[in-house]
């Protein structure tokens, strides 16, 4: 699998719902240098499932992780997939970026297409407060069930109260 094939398939399926797409390459190796390729692009959440289905049709699909960031008014989610493992140098890293406004923090869940996405989606629920439509299990995973704050949000005043600033021996040092 090559990055240009992945990008072409995404472009065909999503047309203008795919923006800022690019292929980033990197040269690795010393004796026989080769390039490894990454596909990056921004999509709308309406076409997320379609995009993932397109990737899945291309070859074995693996979701590594969803990373996210609080941008103030909106939350940016980055879906990191890999397509086509199993052959030497044959895997393409695909990152799809999408933004969701805080007023309507809902994203379709990938679990129907890719059940392996559940762990990382549950993590985003607790850390960023995103809702996933259609996720089979939305309980907290890493944080205690009764913890309501979302640690990666910037608008969480209570979070600071939970953070322990000093341990006792440091205070003793200052004496």
């Amino acid at each position: 699998m090559r990055a240009k094939d992945v990008l072409a398939a995404l472009e065909e399926a999503l047309a203008d719902r795919l923006r800022d797409s690019e292929i980033r390459t990197r040269t690795v190796g010393v004796r026989s240098p080769r390039t490894i390729e990454e596909v990056w692009g921004r999509i709308d959440r309406e076409v997320l499932l379609k995009a993932v289905q397109t990737l899945k049709d291309l070859g074995p699909l693996h979701i590594s992780i969803i990373s996210g960031r609080d941008l103030g008014e909106e939350i940016e989610l980055l879906y990191h997939f890999t397509v086509g493992f199993g052959t030497e140098d044959g895997e393409v890293l695909v990152t799809l970026r999408l933004s969701v406004p805080k007023s309507d923090l809902v994203v379709p869940s990938l679990c129907g297409i890719l059940p392996g996405a559940q762990t990382t989606e549950r993590e985003k629920i607790e850390f960023l407060g995103v809702k996933f439509e259609g996720i089979p299990d939305s309980r907290h995973l890493f944080l205690p069930e009764d913890m309501e704050v979302h640690p990666w949000r910037v608008d969480e005043p209570e979070l600071q109260g939970l953070v322990k600033r000093k341990v006792k021996w440091e205070e003793r040092d200052g004496e």
Binding site: P144, P151, L159, L162, V163, K164, V167, W169
Partner: protein, 144 residues
């Protein structure tokens, strides 16, 4: 203190409270043939109710604090607590997080600190032996 003064075999319970595993594997390494802590009669047991010494590792996460306290209470007296590793002793690299309430000595009383990240198995054995000294004093009715 001489090793011949050991009065009895010492049973140890290991409690990880949010460690990175580095200390935990070194504790297990202390049991295996090269270090062989069992030749002193020291062995790991599966429940605190049988233990004389608690080996605590990790910076104590929020959900583990309560459990650590409970495990401490379940351990019969006289008992000694050994903290293995820098992050259990002082928080180490794990400071300023929403989920860390340690170090260990803010949750339960600690007798011996073994610094190092992780400490070598020899140091862990040394820490346990120091705890023995305390236990024997306690049993003899002396202040520890």
């Amino acid at each position: 203190m001489k090793l011949s003064s050991f009065k009895r075999a010492l049973w140890v319970f290991h409690v990880p409270t949010g460690s990175c595993n580095g200390c935990d594997i070194e504790i297990v390494a202390a049991l295996t043939p090269r270090y062989d802590i069992e030749r002193f009669g020291i062995r790991l047991v599966g429940t605190p109710r049988h233990a004389d010494v608690l080996l605590v590792t990790g910076a104590v996460t929020r959900p583990m604090a309560e459990r650590l306290r409970r495990i401490y209470e379940q351990t019969p007296d006289p008992k000694a607590v050994v903290v293995v590793g820098s992050c259990g002793s002082t928080s180490g690299v794990f400071y300023e997080s929403y989920n860390i309430v340690g170090p260990v000595d803010e949750i339960i009383p600690v007798d011996v600190y073994v610094p190092g990240c992780p400490p070598r198995p020899e140091a862990i054995i040394d820490g346990v032996v120091k705890a023995v000294a305390k236990l024997e004093k306690l049993e003899a009715g002396e202040p520890a």
